[in-house]
Amino acid sequence: MNGFGYAVDALAAWLAGGEPGWIALTIAVLAVWVVPILLLVFPIAALGQILERKIAAAIQRRVGPSSAGLDGPLRFGFRVLLFFLPRARQDRIFAAFCNLRPVRSLLLVSRRLGLGQFVADGIKMLGKEDIVPTGADGIVFRLAPYLALAGAFLPFCVVPFGQHLVMLETEVAALFAIAVSGIVVVALKMAGWGSGSKWSLLGGMRAVAQLVSYEVPIGLAVGGVVLWCGTMDLHAIVGQQYEPGVFSLLGWNVVQSPFLATLAAVFFIAGLAECQRSPFDMAEAESELVSGFNTEYSGLRWGLFAMAEYTEMLLIGALLATLFFGGYQSPIGEEWIVGLPVWLEVPIHGAILGVKVVTVFLVMMWIRWTLPRFRVDQVMRLSWLVLVPMCLVSMFGLAVTLLAAGGTHAGEAFGRVASRPRPDLHWLGHLAAWAVPVAIGACLVVMAKKKHGQVHPALQRLTGGRS
């Protein structure tokens, strides 16, 4: 065991045909680390942009990008493949190919869906003039987008994509993920400062203030899970959420306790803030700071920032799924997957995680095209006066639940042995763990509504209520 996880070890051993040397190990590490990113994260992040525009269009009741299909890249492919033919022949062959009925309908559909849009955007950005503004600090300005991308990609190392597919297995995975994604703060600050523009500076400052503030609720939310599970190893946390039988959904952290559900919500909201998504997009607020920290960025560098943002959204989704929603486990029983051969099991687990991640991704987009933006002070207030107290209360509640539960789960989480099994509650205990906090909360909410819940009649009239 080299500490790189099962997949790396197995691959390296297979490559070397015995005890792996460093070459085999390197190849295996690269293969196992890079392949998931390339296959899972990168395409989704790229497609995310077109998805976002399509969803925005649907919400705004329009069509969305529908002029760029796949015909452009396809034509380019033909040109490259048939380089030995004259252009006219290439054109004729391409036209003939496109007129094949399935191809034609496929191209039409791709055009309607705007599938080529991100290709078009990408190659346009490649072709744009490369500008470093006069007042900018060249090195800092150029470095920032790559750092942002690195900060967004690196935490994926510790996210378990499947039972056998974790790039970096470490006992402090959760801490690692939070710590490494902190690079983004530096990157945004560098972008803001290095641009030499006031709007960028303001955007960078806002980004730093916001990101640093929201590290706290994120850390506390993860801390709550760690408290519950007794480990920081993300893979072990996934293992903790294993529940035998068809109702494996019941093993997920989010249904274990209302406090964990609260923490999931807090994690999601703070995650939105971490990836600078609306309603927390003050750092690039288009209507206030022209484009925030990336005001001066053009072309590919700006594209890298956008890519980093989408990757970070995926990261938040992956962490949310891992910590609270059972990771790569299916909600309808896990045994039927675990029994499969490895080559079948790994993609199925990956797909399940992917579905969860994309769901979070879509909800983030939905939110973006619905809600207005917070103001700077409101963002801070939300973090320190709402989310952090909620986290603290939840952690307290979790601790009380743990104390009350007393007993421990006798079983062994599948795949890996948890360092401390999760508390084993009787079903009555589960019921109590839900009922008591929910009842208290509901009472408080009713009281609060009674005291403060009046709405102005004019507003009621506007929203179709009684006038």
């Binding site: 525009r53 490259v80 078009a120 030499g196 288009e286 001066e296 700006w302």
Partner: protein, 200 residues
């Protein structure tokens, strides 16, 4: 940048470069981000064009607030003498390749203010090179899309790898009129980068 004097083979005669160029042009054509730049009446129609009814996002056009990320400046509305220099600055802050569409009578020729007004610039083409003029006061969003389609024809012929093509183009002419027949004024004599002011 004028590269008329550059030695070497014509880019479009080199097969691979031409293929790359074609691909790049396809990308540019379908991804014209426009600068959110509305001065007057035409700005409202520009908004309507971005709205659900006309939806220029269909054509891959989304508004960008900062000129750095925009490919296309739609001069929508009256440009006064006080504003003209700012338009020029914005144009200089845009990165190549960049395009300018003059929307509406005011930007075309001063329009209603060409005769009597002392403060209105008679035609934005005195300050920035205009690719497409769209008549109307204000033009309908469909007319704007019409002009954008004409611009896309022009973008398609733009060569990234080879020479800069800023030749005039007649919408209703034959297939490729006036290709390479035009003197290009040196609009880039000043350093294209206006410096860190953002869009201030």
């Amino acid at each position: 940048m004028t590269t008329d004097e550059r030695p070497g083979n014509r880019a479009d005669e080199q097969v691979h470069m031409a293929a790359v160029d074609e691909f790049l042009a396809w990308g540019k054509e379908h991804s014209l981000f426009y600068l959110l730049f509305a001065t007057a009446c035409c700005g409202i129609e520009l908004m309507q064009a971005g709205g659900p009814r006309y939806d220029v996002d269909r054509l891959g056009m989304i508004p960008r607030a900062t000129p750095r990320q925009a490919d296309l400046m739609i001069v929508a509305g009256t440009i006064t003498h006080k504003m003209a220099g700012r338009v020029r600055t914005l144009w200089e802050q845009m990165t190549e390749p960049r395009w300018v569409v003059s929307m509406g009578s005011c930007a075309n020729s001063g329009g209603p203010f060409s005769k009597w007004s002392y403060s209105v610039l008679n035609g934005i083409d005195k300050y920035v090179p205009v690719d497409i003029y769209i008549p109307g006061c204000p033009p309908r969003p469909e007319a704007l899309i019409d002009g954008v389609m004409a611009l896309r024809e022009r973008v398609k012929r733009y060569r990234t790898v080879g020479e800069r093509d800023r030749t005039p183009y007649i919408v209703a002419g034959p297939e490729a009129p006036f290709g390479g027949h035009c003197k290009v004024p040196d609009f880039t004599a000043k350093k294209p980068d206006g410096g860190g002011g953002g869009s201030a």
